[in-house]
């Protein structure tokens, strides 16, 4: 609790939820929704940028979490990390298939990706106070890179290409940004 003011579930409650899901207790999904939907929906929405699609992805993710729960290994990481990755992957697949549908041949990487990045802030309305603090602690270059890596599914080398900066700089900025974030947790 003291080491982590934000992440919604204390370890003991998380273990209990994991046990219930491992025991295929369907009612645990309601608890799961109440605990995690805001965090997951926030991430999904930030990636797909449309409410109806975010709802579809969240629903798809919950079904996938239930069906694939046997593959979750608590020794490898927290439940929250695992479900976040499922949501991110599904959301990124969603925007990629959307790009694919509209025709990746005619839309250049610059147009489609830049358009998406610019579209984000208008519809984006975070409610957590934590964000304010983070905005002040991360310098814009760090935040831009973390957002591209985390919310837009870029790899580090794609970020380097897109921003026209050396890969080493991307790696350093990403690492520094993550260091700043872990300091904020404490």
């Amino acid at each position: 609790m003291s080491d982590n003011p934000l992440i919604s579930l204390p370890p003991a409650a998380e273990e209990d939820l994991v046990r219930r899901l491992q025991a295929r207790d369907e009612s645990a999904m309601t608890l799961f929704y109440d605990r995690y939907s805001a965090a997951l929906y926030g991430v999904i929405y930030r990636i797909v940028k449309a409410e109806d699609e975010a709802e579809d992805v969240l629903q798809e993710a919950l079904v996938k979490i239930w069906n694939a729960f046997a593959s979750y290994d608590p020794t490898k990481g927290r439940l929250f990390t695992w479900v976040l990755n499922i949501c991110r992957n599904l959301s990124i697949d969603k925007i990629r298939s959307r790009q694919h549908r509209v025709g990746s041949k005619t839309t250049g990487i610059d147009d489609s990706l830049t358009a998406q990045r610019q579209a984000a802030p208008t519809a984006f309305r975070p409610e957590h106070i934590g964000l304010q603090e983070i905005t002040q602690k991360l310098i814009p270059e760090q935040r831009q890179i973390i957002d591209m890596l985390y919310f837009e599914g870029f790899t580090q080398s794609e970020v380097a290409e897109e921003l026209n900066i050396p890969l080493g700089t991307v790696k350093t900025r990403a690492r520094t940004a993550i260091k700043v974030l872990s300091k904020l947790i404490r």
Binding site: N4, G42, Y45, L62, N89, S104, I165, P166, R175
Partner: protein, 303 residues
């Protein structure tokens, strides 16, 4: 075994946490984490930091969504268990075509039981014939059930493969766009280098940076200016190199160098300059200054 600190600082743990690695690379990272507590701790910290970032972006979904999503999820996660039972019931009903309402088996009963019981009320001649029929019917049903499962899993696999291929294709399209853009840049650089109208101006290091070296290509007719860095000292955070043209001793801003140009990655097109006799570079705060900070002059050269 390589140095663990180097491994941690290589950035691979960040790539792992961001989901950039292939399955084999992921397994390698997991193996490192399993055998080195420092790697494990660092990885947990990276994951916690990203989780924290995610949570800072939390948005409570609309209230009406809760019922909708949970109802759909419950229906979907309950479905695979219920479906074989109902299909079986329908098949059995069709087979017997006799009134079996009284003997209707509970949905939770075992499949074999459900198959055999309705047959008892069917008009069949001898007890031995009846049991043969029952066995044959159960075998047929089980076979069809097995075939359905097989087809379903094949279909799921095919579907997953299509999605994977689509992702590959989208990624490939993105990569070729990047390559095309790079080629365009190179072509443009080549035109500058081969054009006789451009005059190459060598900029040599000053006392502050004796080994620094750069070139400016200046086209007197079109006023176009390109800069090419050979070697410049690394910059402190928040600083950028800025190019100046000196025209009769008066400094004119020719624009700031991107980080890539400053490390010598290629030519950069700068601001047009009408007339100049000298070019020089200074270190300025990110974004550039209105006037040059002369004490930071790094390279200078006359036309």
């Amino acid at each position: 075994m390589e140095n663990i600190q180097d491994y941690i600082e290589s950035g691979i743990l960040e790539q792992y946490a961001l989901g950039e690695l292939s399955a084999a690379e992921q397994a390698a990272v997991e193996a490192q984490a399993a055998s080195h507590p420092e790697v494990r701790a660092e990885l947990a910290q990276v994951q916690a930091a990203l989780g924290f970032y995610a949570e800072a972006h939390a948005i409570t979904p609309p209230a009406a969504m809760r019922e909708r999503v949970l109802a759909n999820v419950m229906a979907q996660i309950a479905a695979p268990a219920a479906r074989p039972g109902t299909t079986l019931r329908a098949d059995v009903d069709a087979l017997t075509s006799a009134p079996v309402a009284a003997a209707a088996p509970a949905a939770s009963r075992a499949a074999a039981e459900a198959v055999i019981r309705p047959m008892a009320s069917a008009p069949v001649a001898t007890p031995s014939g009846r049991s043969n029929w029952a066995v044959a019917a159960s075998v047929a049903l089980l076979l069809s059930l097995g075939a359905n499962l097989l087809l379903y899993s094949n279909w799921k696999n095919a579907n997953a493969q299509v999605v994977a291929l689509q992702n590959d294709q989208a990624r490939f399209a993105q990569t070729s766009q990047v390559v095309e853009r790079k080629l365009g840049d190179l072509r443009q650089e080549n035109e500058v280098l081969r054009n006789d109208e451009f005059r190459a101006v060598a900029l040599a290091g000053t006392k502050t940076a004796p080994t620094a070296k750069a070139r400016v290509f200046f086209n007197v007719a079109t006023h176009k200016v390109y800069v090419d860095v050979r070697s410049l000292p690394a910059l402190p955070a928040g600083k950028q190199y800025q190019l100046w043209a000196l025209d009769k001793g008066k400094p004119i801003d020719a624009g700031v160098l991107t980080a890539a140009t400053a490390t010598g990655e290629g030519l950069q097109h700068m601001k047009d300059i009408a007339s100049a006799q000298t070019f020089a570079m200074t270190v300025e705060p990110t974004g550039g200054s209105v006037g040059p900070t002369l004490s930071t002059m790094t390279v200078v050269g006359n036309i």
